[in-house]
């Protein structure tokens, strides 16, 4: 039985919901913005030769409630030398992160209250703040600099470095994480902090002979601890400048060998070939966008966000269009299987190219919905469906699902509570 609704009524309902949603989320934000006197219970990092202490976490705003990824490396030595050492290192390929290469869009799933939670984070481009506590109180620090090793539209190690404002200061606190660009979410997803921590440790170990130790950090009252903190000390041998000189080159990991050849053999039945063609077509669109974005980023000195915006429509329109057009000669089940399996294969190839081996559950469900949507769009134009006017309209279900699943992440840029 079909439920009918007039357009005017539906739009009125939408306006009411949007108004309530925006108003509601603003009210929630204001309540959340009030900051309690939480300083006494903060987990802190003690600093050598400094009376002050550093809060373990970075924050999305100037409050402790917005805590996100923990600081995982503290480097003793002149901050400028450390910065220069990273940039000049031969081992990694660190470059300063310009404003154009910082992430966009706020949303994080990090739960710092429970340290056993895997720290999946959808990274936010806005600043992250560190909190420096002294006897008089505390002060919020913004990033002293940011460096990254890797590509904006691919995957990269990203460090946010914090240093005190005094000229004679001797320490740099770093928050290192590994992240990859998620084309459908339109932002970076942080996969790991520990992997980048190890990467940075190796980086420093290769560049001189600093003392490198790992210490557990947690609240005194808590026998379990929050996390391992890496301490790199260059003061012992004064070898900061040797960081660059002594670095040696290791082969870059990841043999990036891939091949996507839909070998069409003569003994395979025609409809199988066409199903394969559909699957390959969908996968190719997906991989084309990833590789195209990366090669554009490599070739032109333009902010990578420009390419992200330019290439997103190719995904948004190109994927359903490829599924729709290539499914024409197929029956329903082959059309569905071809499009959805092709999409999943494309996603898996993309992730293995980026070296991503674990995914948060919500991303998994989201990709599953996209695969089903593409499958339904393909069914909608399959040979059988076009001749059978009875039965449900799969094309409509597919298109609606596709629209919601692709537009949902973009709605995060609005004040709506999504």
């Amino acid at each position: 039985m079909a439920v009918e609704l007039r357009p005017a009524t539906a739009v009125l309902v939408l306006v009411a919901v949007l108004a309530a949603g925006s108003f509601g989320s603003l009210a929630v934000a204001e309540v959340g913005g009030t900051q309690g006197d939480a300083e006494s219970t903060l987990t802190v990092i003690p600093l050598e030769n400094d009376d002050r202490q550093l809060w373990l976490y970075t924050s999305r705003g100037l409050s402790f409630e917005q805590a996100t990824l923990p600081i995982n490396v503290v480097v003793y030595g002149d901050p400028e030398d450390v910065h220069r050492g990273l940039l000049e290192s031969d081992r990694g390929n660190w470059t300063d992160t310009s404003e154009d290469e910082q992430e966009v869009a706020p949303d994080e799933n990090t739960n710092v209250v429970n340290p056993t939670t895997i720290e999946w984070e959808v990274a936010d481009g806005a600043n992250r703040f560190a909190y420096l506590i002294d006897l008089q109180g505390g002060v919020w620090l913004t990033e002293h600099y940011q460096v990254h090793d890797g590509r904006y539209l691919g995957s990269r190690h990203h460090i946010r470095a914090y240093a005190p404002s005094e000229a004679d200061s001797e320490w740099t606190a770093m928050q290192a994480h590994h992240e990859h660009w998620d084309w459908f979410m339109g932002r970076h997803i942080v996969r790991s902090t520990t992997e980048s921590q190890s990467y940075v440790e190796r980086e420093f170990a290769a560049g001189g002979s600093p003392d490198i130790t790992r210490v557990p950090v947690g609240a005194d009252s808590d026998p379990s601890f929050d996390q391992w903190l890496t301490i790199v000390d260059f003061r012992a041998d004064g070898a900061q400048s040797a960081l660059a000189g002594l670095a040696f080159v290791l082969g870059l990991a990841g043999a990036r060998r891939r091949g996507l050849s839909a070998t069409l053999r003569e003994h395979v039945p025609t409809r199988d070939v066409r199903t394969l063609l559909l699957a390959a077509g969908v996968a190719v669109v997906l991989l084309f966008v990833r590789l195209g974005g990366l090669s554009l980023e490599r070739s032109f000195d333009v902010p990578p966000k420009v390419f992200a915006i330019a290439l997103y429509p190719v995904l948004f329109v190109g994927l359903p269009l490829a599924a729709y057009l290539l499914a024409r000669p197929l029956d329903r089940s082959r059309a569905f299987a071809g499009a959805s399996v092709g999409f999943i294969a494309g996603v898996l190839l993309d992730y293995s190219y980026l070296g991503v081996t674990q995914l948060p559950l919500d991303v998994l469900v989201h990709r599953g919905a996209l695969a089903v949507a593409l499958g339904l769009v393909a069914v909608g134009n399959s040979r059988v469906e076009r001749h059978d006017s009875e039965g449900p309209d799969h094309l409509r279900t597919g298109v609606l699902l596709w629209l919601v699943a692709t537009l949902l992440p973009l709605l995060r840029h609005t004040p709506l509570p999504v």
Binding site: M1, A2, V3, E4, L5, R6, P7, A10, V11, V13, L14, V17, L18, G21, G24, S25, N109, P360, L361, D362, L364, V365, H366, A369, V372, R383, R386, H387, S389, P392, D393, L395, R396, T397, L400, L401, L403, V404, A405, L408, L411, L416, P417, V418
Partner: protein, 79 residues
């Protein structure tokens, strides 16, 4: 002016299709956007994991699509 039922031009068929289903598409867009916002708010209040929200959200779209009128083709279905 040619009858959309006999034209072979893809663009023209698409335009005819969109015109035919305009009202239903407006309803669909409005209802789904409302559904996104309402479900997100509800799940946030209940503090349910995001993947579960996505699952309910997407299944809800399938159910909505089954219960409401289809988009109709203004031209004959052809091979």
């Amino acid at each position: 002016m040619s009858d959309p039922s006999t034209t072979d031009s893809r663009t023209r068929r698409l335009v005819a299709y969109l015109r035919q289903n305009r009202d239903q598409m407006v309803v669909d867009a409005a209802v789904l956007l409302s559904w996104i916002v309402v479900s997100a708010a509800l799940f946030r209040i209940l503090s349910v994991p995001q993947w579960l929200h996505y699952l309910v959200l997407f299944v809800g779209i399938g159910a909505y699509s089954r219960l409401t009128p289809d988009w109709e083709r203004p031209y004959r279905r052809s091979g």
